[in-house]
């Protein structure tokens, strides 16, 4: 082995951080400006993987260091390795999907120039980050329907209307209120807490929580 020939790749992590804010999916973006190739663009937060950490660890570290986010749900999405994906040189990136509940996303002041942008209107991002965002949203949509991953996007206690509108905004289609409730309650996915929430207007709603303590693989929805 000739180590100097083999040590060619710069390994990075890029993070698609998703939160549903005001009923629409948002992504956390950071400004980039690397003339001449990238001018006044936006990109996903990311950074290099250190020699002594795994990609997962880098992801957690970058979330903390660059975004001020702690204890978020994250899962590996895919690895992007196009030779020219970064104008600075060969950088291979492991992309992660990270989910932030709405209250957490609102609650903490964003560092630097980070900002939440509507996922459907991010425009042209730097690098291949549009591809990563598309993969993240696709994965999220798939998992919403087959797992209890929604718990990672919502407060610990929530009304069923809130949960339904989360589903509707991510899936991009309306769901039937009665079928939605029926299914989630009958399947034991969510459980009533007994507490009531008085919204600004209208009848108070009951607060629910997810039954299990982790993300579980079950058929959450078919069509509703």
């Amino acid at each position: 082995m000739r180590p100097h020939k083999l040590r060619f790749a710069i390994l990075a992590v890029d993070v698609a951080i998703i939160a549903v804010l005001d009923g629409t999916p948002h992504v956390l973006l950071t400004p980039v400006h690397l003339p001449p190739d990238i001018i006044d663009a936006y990109a996903l937060p990311g950074g290099l993987v250190r020699p002594d950490e795994t990609a997962e660890e880098a992801c957690v570290r970058l979330l903390s260091e660059k975004c001020g986010l702690e204890d978020c749900y994250s899962e590996q999405l895919a690895t992007f390795s196009a030779v020219d994906r970064d104008p600075r040189g060969r950088v291979v990136s492991v992309a992660y999907l990270v989910l932030v509940p709405e209250p957490a996303a609102r609650g903490h002041g964003l560092p630097d120039g980070l900002s939440w942008r509507e996922a459907a209107r991010v425009g042209k991002l730097a690098y291949d980050h549009n591809e990563i965002v598309a993969a993240a949203l696709g994965r999220l949509r798939a998992e919403l329907q087959s797992t209890t991953i929604a718990r990672q996007l919502i407060a610990p206690q929530f009304t069923l209307s809130e949960l339904q509108s989360l589903y509707e905004s991510v899936l991009g289609r309306a769901l039937d209120k009665r079928n939605f409730r029926k299914k989630l309650i009958a399947d034991g996915v969510v459980r009533p807490t007994g507490k009531m929430l008085q919204a600004a207007l209208g009848r108070p709603s009951e607060l629910y929580r997810f039954a299990g303590s982790k993300v579980e693989v079950i058929s959450v929805l078919s069509g509703s």
Copy 2:
């Protein structure tokens, strides 16, 4: 940026090549012997990603160079980045799932010491390759039930009994013959060719083919 500090990662590809042979899932393994850490073990075929190729391209190249396999279906599985996963140093590996139809797997002489081994009985593999094999089989099981990926594991024309036994061997459970046929035919997933196959014994069976030309995402099975 200090490039010399950043250029740390060796990027590799490891390939979980699956074929269903004699009604049981097999993986293609290669012997490894790297004392003192790895002695007389087996591992998935793999190799380094070159500076001028993507991970996908490296996967295709390695399949050809190391395994003599051309034009196989492949998809990225996940990236494994544990710091000590390779005793020789820091090697991050992008794992791929590759599927080979039974006739192709039988038809070509295996180079080197490569051999097909029953996936359920591979024993302790080198590196983290047991993890990769587990991920590959899990992905395959999931996709068998929701896509037409089975086409990548079987000859272009096949009997429904062959297809069913493929499903059964990968999923590890028996399926009802009538329901299996009903569903695949009713959903238009497979189409009869009109040709008959005279097996060694018993009534001749009709040959079918998959209807679409690609792997399609549909609900292939529920329980049968």
